[in-house]
Subunit: 477 residues, 2 copies
């Protein structure tokens, strides 16, 4: 794991934000390669999920939102973490983490229960052995004052979802009063974690890709494209399966889930297995139990991928049947009706949410691609995810090789993200591109000047073939 | 103007954020069409400016940054607006705006000067006629508390630029110690305006596209591609020209500006005239006088476009020669050396900043495209900017026309952003797409079933031609 993080840092995939000032836990920047990889993931997500229905659209809503939004959504009341502090040194700590570090179950405990478990286990401050305070709640939203000193309070959104909910009324009209309507947001969300522990997995400033699908609840049992997925075998890990610890493969039909829900499970699996090329062994859906899931989620399965560097299967996304919880909440606080009228039938739509953490997915892509061989480190990204698709090398800077290579680079650049590398031996250049996962390298040498052929070298097999300059594109599709 | 804003709202280009809660001044969301248009602009910017040098890269850095960053940059001390309040009703106002509304010059005045001008003009509260307080300064950054209650203070970045400056040291190494090095950031910035007055032009949450070019100050007089631009005629409006009120055309060479600066002026002009297709009459560079420009900007020309709905030429961007102000500032506060060592020569690089407001550019694109004819409203976007490139219509839903049209839509969708529209008469569908600027419409009718031809209709000329289904792509390039 350490080597892999070193690579991410050394090659500028990601690095701590404000590093020269010592950084702040939970904030990372994406460097040149990280930005390319992240954008590739986002474009694949966008193309795949927006393509599911011609009434699915992407929107971009503000990060700072009015406080009423989070009154309605319940975040002001409920988006809290338990907090405890040392009465001697003042350090702020998570009581549930203190318990879990000692192997004591802390999930779902009330504040008094946390206090009594802390007392029973005789836990004191890990820094100074001081006595700990009582547990209280800490709200995880960042608040901001809008306007001059006595202005309005706003919050940085803790999830992108709310931007779609508060836009629903207008966009339902703009999109001509049709359901299902899908509103996707790819963007940042902010969570003021008390002490983020898991590096890149739990960030204070994070990126999400979320799709909110508004639909008629009476049609949840149907999906127009059901036939195309009903026999798809899903890797499911239900609450019941967990008693035996075994993942089960079930067809969409066998899950017994409503069609509208199961269809989207199938599509999510297709995205991970066929588009992102996650090995089937490393993918599963995990059903959440009633204790685990939010009260407003009628059905909730997480998308989990096995990420070795994080110790096993980790949540990278989820499919949440949020019912009318959100729209009804906004209706109550804003006094604006969220009812739609479709051919005379009036109702508040239900919401199915597809939610993905972009940073976590980015990390999983890095983890799955990472491979160390005897002679080289190689990131085995699928072509569509790799930061650079092709790297172009002139064998020498002289004798017109540079200019010839530059021409080829410019041609390829109009179609693919390419790198041009003129430094060091060709062997070193191959290694440098193996390490960042470039699937194809093109070398221009003296023979090129005679017969217009170049050496095309494949990352995974390290095979090298001679092809005509104008045939490169056909070979790298 | 009103109609045009109505269109933007009605068709969902943009709309006030958190509208159901009454909205908050200075916050707008991008709807489905706005998101497409904005992304097109961003992709054009990215492709054009990242293509200028193989050592230019895009990065994505955090919105929330440590307070030390803004201590070093001078924002904590200097990023202020003057604020005055009514001693009776408490309203918060901008003293400079109060003066300017009365035709009194307020730019560059000190606080005591503002107070005395206000007193001389006998200005009282425009809301309740109450007496006004003395002027004080209000910092325009949003601050956020990171971590539990006594945690660190951070700020939402007021410009993306600082993310590149604090990353410079690491990324210079990652990018193999070469200058010039370009670091671009496309992302949000936040400015807590006291009372934003100009709708979409002055936002509290805004989007910027900025490129910071780090270079050796001794080479400012040279640019490797100088020959390609030196005869380019720039539309310049210098401080001297302003005395006569006339814009002058000058070649890059005639401007007398350093090559490294003038080269980038030429490229910016090329981007506006050739890529965004802004009419030459609507474009100019405006030199800032010593009073207008920030003290650290050695040379500063704004990019101005004539935006009728905003009353004339407006700043959409700027080219700022920021010297070593930023890196030296961060060096002093962080104690990290910002010196580079290139072949034994040690120095702190200078910075040339290309800065663009994405929202302003978006608005200008809307404004320039807007056209009202007798029978229709039409947005004359260049193809590469238009939200949809092609719309596909089945004449009827029956007789296999729908399926045929859907097939064509799916084929085109793999290459272009397309819309599929089956509702209303074909004439109405044309009008609907004229209004959002779709350059090409394809109609599938009964003849299509016989000879596989469709009607291809051009937005600007309204000309209609019959072409084979598989020839559409050639005709819309």
């Amino acid at each position: 794991v350490k080597e892999f993080s070193d690579l991410a840092l050394r090659r500028g995939f990601i690095y701590p934000s404000c590093e020269i000032y010592g950084g702040v836990a939970g904030f990372y920047d994406y460097g040149p390669l990280g930005t390319l990889l992240k954008r590739n993931w986002e474009n694949l997500w966008r193309t795949f999920f927006m393509g599911l229905d011609s009434n699915f659209f992407e929107i971009q809503t503000c990060d700072i939102m009015a406080s009423s939004v989070f009154e309605a959504s319940g975040h002001i009341k409920n988006f809290n973490d338990p907090l405890i502090n040392c009465l001697k040194c003042g350090k702020r700590l998570r009581p549930d983490h203190l318990l879990e570090e000692r192997g004591i179950q802390a999930e779902g405990l009330t504040l008094p229960e946390l206090d009594s478990r802390i007392a029973e286990a005789k836990i004191d401050c890990p820094y100074c052995k001081g006595t700990l305070s009582q547990t209280r709640l800490f709200n995880m939203m960042f608040d901001v004052k809008i306007g001059a000193s006595e202005g309005e309070i706003g919050y940085l959104r803790p999830e992108t979802a709310q931007g779609a909910y508060v836009s629903f009324k207008r966009l339902f009209e703009v999109c001509r009063n049709q359901l299902p309507l899908g509103l996707a947001i790819l963007g940042r969300a902010y969570r003021n974690e008390i002490s983020p522990r898991q590096g890149f997995y739990r960030l204070r400033e994070l990126n999400q890709a979320e799709l909110q699908i508004f639909f008629d609840p009476e049609t949840v049992g149907h999906h127009k494209d059901w036939d195309s997925v009903k026999d798809t075998r899903l890797k499911t890990f239900s609450v019941k399966d967990r008693e035996h610890g075994e993942v089960e493969e079930r067809t969409c039909e066998e899950t017994g889930l409503p069609q509208f829900y199961a269809y989207h499970l199938a599509k999510i699996q297709e995205f991970y297995l066929d588009v992102l090329r996650v090995p089937k062994s490393h993918f599963r859906f995990r059903e959440l139990s009633d204790e685990e899931k939010a009260f407003y989620n009628k059905v909730h399965w997480d998308v989990e991928v096995c990420v070795d560097s994080l110790g096993g299967f980790k949540e990278l996304g989820g499919l949440h049947y949020r019912t009318d919880h959100d729209l009804k909440g906004h209706q109550a606080v804003s006094k604006e009706s969220m009812e739609v009228n479709i051919e005379g039938k009036k109702f508040v739509p239900h919401v199915l949410e597809l939610s993905f953490g972009i940073d976590r997915n980015f990390w999983a892509m890095m983890d799955l691609a990472y491979d160390v061989e005897k002679e080289r480190t190689v990131m085995r990204f699928p072509d569509s995810i790799a930061p650079y698709r092709i790297a172009v090398f002139p064998l020498m800077k002289k004798d017109g090789l540079y200019e010839k290579a530059w021409d080829i680079y410019q041609q390829l650049r109009s179609k693919y993200v390419c790198d041009f590398d003129e430094k060091g031996s060709i062997g070193k250049r191959y290694r440098r591109h193996d390490e960042i996962g470039t699937p194809y390298c093109v070398t221009v040498d003296y023979q090129t000047l005679n017969d217009d052929t170049v050496t095309l070298r494949f990352r995974d097999s390290m095979e090298q073939v001679r092809v005509k300059g104008n045939e490169i594109q056909e070979r790298v599709v």
